[in-house]
């Protein structure tokens, strides 16, 4: 046998192309668009109905989220307990999502129980009754979860940061006091439902193993007649109001770690610089090999983890570095964070680091698109921007074509120190 050379890595192939299966499109007779991602090894389906019904459209706090989670709390034909009993019996999962611009109801079901679970889904979407008793229980539990969450330094840091960059009245910050839970009116929830959960405000994504019969089952329940249609939806406008204050400290007594958030408002994925910023973000703090992770965790041991992220909202976006560090090293950690950002502004990223990050990103794309459910997840994030998943093919090419020079330019344009906001929550001011 030949002598093994363990010092040399084996030959490897660079991923030249990521094959992203295309979704098919259909339209129900009442014009609800349906996106279909067929495939997978298991006899399971995911059916997601998405409505333009997020926080953006609520007139006071908590309405959108409470409305969404009240859908399975009783319908014209079933009580909340009966609905729960049936979903559990069929081994189905139902997941409720409420975000800034949309809200969804997502059914995960075994194919063999599709008819039964779809009937339940139809009930929930079209005929919820919003019973008073369930409403009270849900709000009281939500309030407790909210108050528990406010004991966490990272939750406080996130809230403060979002209020600085978007303004504390803006839905992207979504700030409210605990008394908001006592002020929500059931009537407002019902009105919101009637206004937002309508056929002309809905899109559907189907994913999993399926034949043509699935679409006709969807058509029968959600297409045939025009359900809950409203001629016009209330238009809503919100102004961004970033704070003049750049640095904020919030005291959290007895905290053994401080939560840090540093970042700024930016743009969303429709911006021409988005691919470049994505690469810049990866290098800085977007994966385990990132500079922040290597410096602040793997070299200094200040933290269990540090990441940076880009978030795309429909009408804006932001960049943020997020970490929790020991109280005693908070100041040192912050200074290292600024040092790493400065290095990106002043020095070209070496070619080998750039090619590593590009290769890692291609691998991430493979992982992110690995199953019909994963594909439906990305499609859900893309549709509001007018993209489908083929967006990522173009995006990957842009990533591959981005040079070190370009990254330095972007760092100088977008990562100026004076443009950054800084929030620290903990026991001591850094």
């Amino acid at each position: 046998m030949e002598k093994l050379n363990r010092n040399l890595p084996p030959q490897f192939k660079t991923i030249e192309h990521v094959d992203i299966p295309k979704s098919k499109q259909a339209v129900l007779t009442n014009e609800i668009p349906v996106h279909i991602i067929s495939g997978g090894s298991q006899e399971v389906l995911k059916i997601e109905l998405i409505f333009n019904a997020g926080i953006w459209y609520q007139k006071s706090p908590l309405i959108a989220g409470t409305c969404n989670s009240m859908l399975n709390e009783g319908t014209e034909n079933y009580s909340a307990a009966e609905l729960a009993e049936k979903f559990d019996f069929y081994g189905a999962y139902i997941v409720y999502n409420n975000s800034q611009h949309d809200a969804s109801v997502c059914l995960y079901t075994l194919n063999k129980y599709l008819d039964e679970t779809l009937d339940l889904l139809e009930e929930i979407i079209k005929r919820p009754t919003f019973p008073e008793k369930e409403f009270k229980t849900i709000l009281s539990n939500k309030k407790q979860n909210y108050l528990v969450n406010r004991e966490k330094t990272n939750a406080l840091a996130k809230e403060k940061f979002n209020s600085l960059i978007y303004g504390d009245k803006h839905p992207y910050a979504n700030i409210f006091e605990s008394r908001a839970f006592d002020e929500v009116q059931l009537g407002d929830i019902k009105t919101y439902y009637e206004d937002r959960y309508t056929a002309d405000n809905c899109r559907i994504i189907l994913s999993g193993k399926m034949d043509e019969s699935v679409l006709s089952k969807i058509e029968n329940r959600f297409g045939a007649s025009a359900w809950n249609t409203k001629s016009s939806h209330t238009a809503t406008k919100h102004e961004f109001l970033s704070s003049d204050k750049r640095k904020v400290f919030v005291l959290k007594k007895d905290a053994v770690q401080s939560s840090i958030r540093i970042g700024r408002p930016l743009f969303n994925k429709t911006h021409p610089d988005f691919a470049g910023i994505m690469l810049l973000n990866l290098i800085l703090g977007g994966y385990f090999g990132s500079r922040l992770m290597q410096n602040i965790r793997e070299d200094k041991g200040y933290t269990y983890g540090i990441n940076s992220l880009l978030l795309s909202h429909l009408k804006s976006g932001h960049f943020a570095i997020v970490t929790e560090v020991g109280t005693d090293v908070c100041e040192a950690a912050i200074s290292e964070i600024y040092k790493e950002i400065k290095r990106l502004r002043e020095e070209l990223v070496p070619e080998d680091e750039l090619s590593l990050v590009k290769n890692f990103f291609s691998g991430e794309m493979l992982r992110n698109f690995d199953s019909p459910f994963a594909l439906s997840e990305s499609l859900r994030g893309n549709l509001p921007f007018g993209f489908n998943n083929s967006y990522y093919e173009k995006f990957l090419n842009e990533i591959k074509g981005t040079s070190s020079q370009k990254i330095m330019e972007l760092a100088n344009t977008y990562f100026k120190e004076e443009d950054l906001y800084e929030v620290v929550v903990g026991e001591n001011k850094a």
Binding site: L4, R6, N7, P9, P10, F12, T14, I15, S41, Q42, E43, V44, A80, A81, A84, E85, F87, D88, F89, Y90, G91, Y93, Y108, L110, E134, T137, S140, N141, Q144, N145, L147, V148, E151, K152, T153, D254, A255, V256, Q257, F288, G289, R297, E298, D299, K300, G301, T303, Y304, E324, G326, L356, V357, N359, F360, G363, E364, L366, R367, S371, F373
Partner: protein
Amino acid sequence: MIEFDKFTLDNGLKVIVHKDATTPLAAVNILYNIGAKDEDPEQTGFAHLFEHLMFGGSINIPNYDEPLQQVGGDNNAWTSNDVTNYYLTVPKENLETGFWLESDRMLSLAFTPKSLDVQKAVVIEEFKQHYFNQPYGDVWLHLRPLAYKEHPYQWSTIGKCIEHIENAKLQDVKDFFFHHYAPNNAVLVVTGNVETEEVKRLAEKWFGPIERREIATRNLPSEPKQTEFRSLHLERDVPYDAIYMAFHMGSRSNEDFYKVDLLSDILSNGQSSRIFQRLIKEKNLFSTIDAYLTGDFEPGLFVVSGKLTEGISMEDAEKAIWDVLDEVSATKADEYELQKVKNKVESSLVFSEISFLNKAMNIAQHEITGQAEDINLEVEKYNKVCTEDLQEMAQKILIKENCSTLYYHAKK
């Protein structure tokens, strides 16, 4: 049905291959038969600290992560009280990189003082982040020693205290490695778009030359039977009272496990479960409450934990839990209810088999506790459970003298 091939190298390394052609990726999962239960009681948290050190460079490869990221791969690891599991995923074309990296750190680590110093600091921050800087974060640091008096499950994988992490020495690290990390103490599972012949070739090439090692014999003290109710009161700066009840039960590999698991499902799996319906929806005594099994390899715990609704007294909340538990002991569940939780189990198994990485971890766990083939018998084992079994388990386990209760009081 998960199909796989299985073979053992001369050095004792067990290798299992499962092909899933629906993915362009491959997973390499190595499970080492070493966990927090194998630690010295005066040196706890060591298995987990050691897991961190496995990323600090190996004998021939100074950096583990970089070459993997270079080929589009990603990785992570976790430590439990029973085992330590390492996994990576790569584009299928680059499978060999995974073998190169994993075999070198099985061969030997770099053992640099810098890596030890840094990872001690990182783990101490992890300790603070998860156990001291979260409301209710320290519960398990107190519940474990209340429930276990002799068995090493009395400490968490993070360790008993920060001092134990601080005191770790490089020589301890080396000893730990050579006593527990070895081809004859591990299971290698490769899943995804792979061929058995190729995996065989790579396993022989990269892992074949690693020599067997003498593995420290496992001689764990067994936990004496609990004979009377135990309790502990803690007061903390949290918004609401909480209660945690732990009952001793059998091990994951015991046939009774399936009965107890379904019993816990009837109580608390899904919104139609008894605890959810009675204690949250009907009476609103709790804002959250859950019953679950720790699922440990050695005799484990059946846990009920909940946060009380504002204004509800600890006594009323506790009594309400006992009422539900006493009922499953006193009265047989009906067939419909049992069928419902069996359906749920079957469904969750089907969903869990979507991910090739999940399958790799599950196969490895089955192999280390018994044999990988058992993974395909799970549904059958659950299906054999009858309503009498549930009642019998409830009568045996859910009783006061088998219970340790932690009362977690909100500081007023």
